[in-house]
């Protein structure tokens, strides 16, 4: 494995860390789901973790969201707590044990969102300084309109924080959402080079994207494992089995 972040305590990690990033509606969760299925079908030890999903913090975050009590820095530290809990409980030990860990959003989501909400970007990066650098960070690049169409189909309403209403960009949730997501895109784009993103054109067909994703993943798997895996074309199951409804983990 390549050298990881010097500040982390899992430098001797045997596992592989793959993360997907991109705005809501970029299709990243669908791609991660298909990657997860494929790796499992090849008999690998796989663990998937999602942004803002730790039991410890979830309840507090949702209470705070309901009351709109959360200031940007509180919001930022709650997400960091959530991340640390998943990191200490799952990500770090499983990487040590040789798992392929798949993360649906990683520290880059915090870097982008917290900065857009008004936190210092240097400070946010320091807070997450303990996180291992991923072996691959896929960034699903998509025009704002494409993503919005995917997200808004069949959804009459956007949630307060999801739409970035706390930023006071616009009184209209849809306008606010668009501006918020555009700013997030700007942040992803500016991080892309510095953080070694593997950029995927997310306007392509799902299957085409998945082919590229699998090839890239093959290149970072330990040779002994990669050799066992045949390069088979992705078998796409019915779309309904994939978590297409995004936007719940803001």
């Amino acid at each position: 494995m390549k050298a990881r972040n010097h500040m982390t305590d899992d430098a001797r990690s045997k596992g592989v860390l793959i993360v997907v990033e991109g705005i809501d509606g970029s299709g990243k969760s669908t791609q991660l789901h298909l990657l997860d299925k494929w790796l499992r079908s090849k008999g690998l030890l796989v663990f998937t973790t999602e942004w803002n999903s730790s039991d410890v913090v979830k309840e507090i975050t949702s209470k705070g969201k309901k009351k709109a009590l959360l200031t940007p820095t509180t919001f930022s530290l709650l997400h960091a707590t959530d991340f640390a809990d998943r990191y200490e409980r799952n990500i770090a030990p499983l990487l040590r044990a040789g798992y392929v860990v798949l993360a649906d959003r990683y520290v880059y989501t915090a870097f982008a969102r917290d900065f857009v909400r008004g936190c210092s970007s240097h400070w946010v990066r320091k807070v997450y300084g303990f996180a291992a650098k991923p072996d691959i960070a896929f960034y699903f690049q998509v025009p704002i309109d494409t993503a919005m169409n995917r997200i808004l189909v069949g959804r009459p309403k956007l949630k307060y924080y999801e739409a970035g209403m706390d930023l006071n960009l616009s009184n209209d949730p849809f306008d606010s959402y668009r501006m918020f997501q555009s700013r997030i895109i700007e942040q992803y784009e500016s991080m892309s080079e510095h953080d070694d993103f593997t950029v995927i054109d997310a306007t392509q067909d799902i299957e085409e994207q998945q082919m590229i994703v699998r090839e890239k993943v093959m290149s970072v798997l330990p040779a002994s494992i990669a050799n066992q895996i045949e390069k088979t074309p992705p078998v796409i199951t019915t779309p309904s089995s994939a978590p297409l409804q995004a936007g719940e983990n803001c």
């Binding site: 500040m7 410890v56 913090v57 309840e59 507090i60 209470k63 705070g64 009351k67 009590l69 200031t71 940007p72 820095t73 509180t74 530290l77 709650l78 960091a80 707590t81 640390a84 809990d85 990191y87 200490e88 409980r89 008004g118 936190c119 210092s120 240097h122 400070w123 320091k126 807070v127 300084g129 303990f130």
Partner: protein, 237 residues
């Protein structure tokens, strides 16, 4: 005696600060009393609060684990399952910043004397004593405003043990460092933990301009020392 109307000033932060609060103007003062459980903090804060109020200062008290939203959550989470060191450290930071933004900064803007029953220093020391990077622990709290006066009630670990035991009849699990396995025996663990905490405080005392107060002395003597310094500061600034 009431201090003269102080000139509004912007917040001064320890590190990167909170960019969206950089133009906030404050008139109040932030006074912190640090020290371990059993050092007499709460007693001193009660008495100082009464004295300041009778002198005409508006006072707000704050402490750790008191935020409306997160404070309760930490207690519940700790009871349900053990938390990792980084998780706990960040949880405390989230609790702290909630109070900072909802209580401390608004009170400072309104011209209150904020009397804090511990501040970021205890949180930083706990994190470092539990083996997390010292640099990371300090930088995490780079969003905290610089306090005007910081006292540290220094009490010998052995004396602390007796005070805590007499007051509560039992030792607190975390305050004895039982979660980090310093010693098989709870007495040894308590002494070792408190010794390490005191060492971190002596390092921080220089870095953060803390005033060390000998907390082994009688309550009234400690109180006289604190009150004199606080009055002197409030009347001179």
């Amino acid at each position: 005696m009431l201090a003269h109307q102080t000139k509004p000033r912007t917040l001064n932060f320890y590190g990167e600060g909170i960019p969206y609060l950089k133009d906030v103007l404050i008139k109040g003062k932030l006074v912190v009393i640090e020290g371990p459980d059993g050092s007499g903090r709460s007693t001193q804060i009660q008495s100082i609060t009464s004295k300041l109020e009778s002198d005409g200062h508006a006072v707000v008290n704050t402490g750790l684990k008191r935020s409306e939203l997160i404070g309760k959550g930490i207690l519940e989470a700790k009871q349900r399952l053990p938390l990792g060191k980084k998780t706990l450290t960040l949880f405390y930071a989230a609790d702290f910043v909630e109070q900072l933004e909802h209580k401390i900064i608004p009170a400072l803007q309104a011209g209150y004397v904020v009397l804090a029953d511990r501040y970021i220093y205890t949180l930083i020391a706990r994190s470092i004593v539990r083996g997390l990077s010292s640099r990371w622990s300090h930088e995490l709290y780079g969003f905290a405003p610089v306090a005007d006066l910081v006292f540290y009630l220094d009490v010998k670990p052995d004396e602390l043990f007796h005070r805590v035991f007499q007051k509560y009849g039992v030792l607190d699990y975390y305050e004895s460092g039982a979660d980090i396995g310093l010693a098989p025996d709870l007495y040894d663990s308590f002494i070792a933990y408190q010794t390490r905490m005191a060492k971190e405080f002596s390092v921080m005392a220089r870095q953060y301009d803390m005033i060390r107060v000998d907390g082994n002395k009688p309550i009234s003597e400690v109180n006289a020392t604190l009150q004199e310094k606080i009055d002197g500061y409030l009347n001179s600034s």
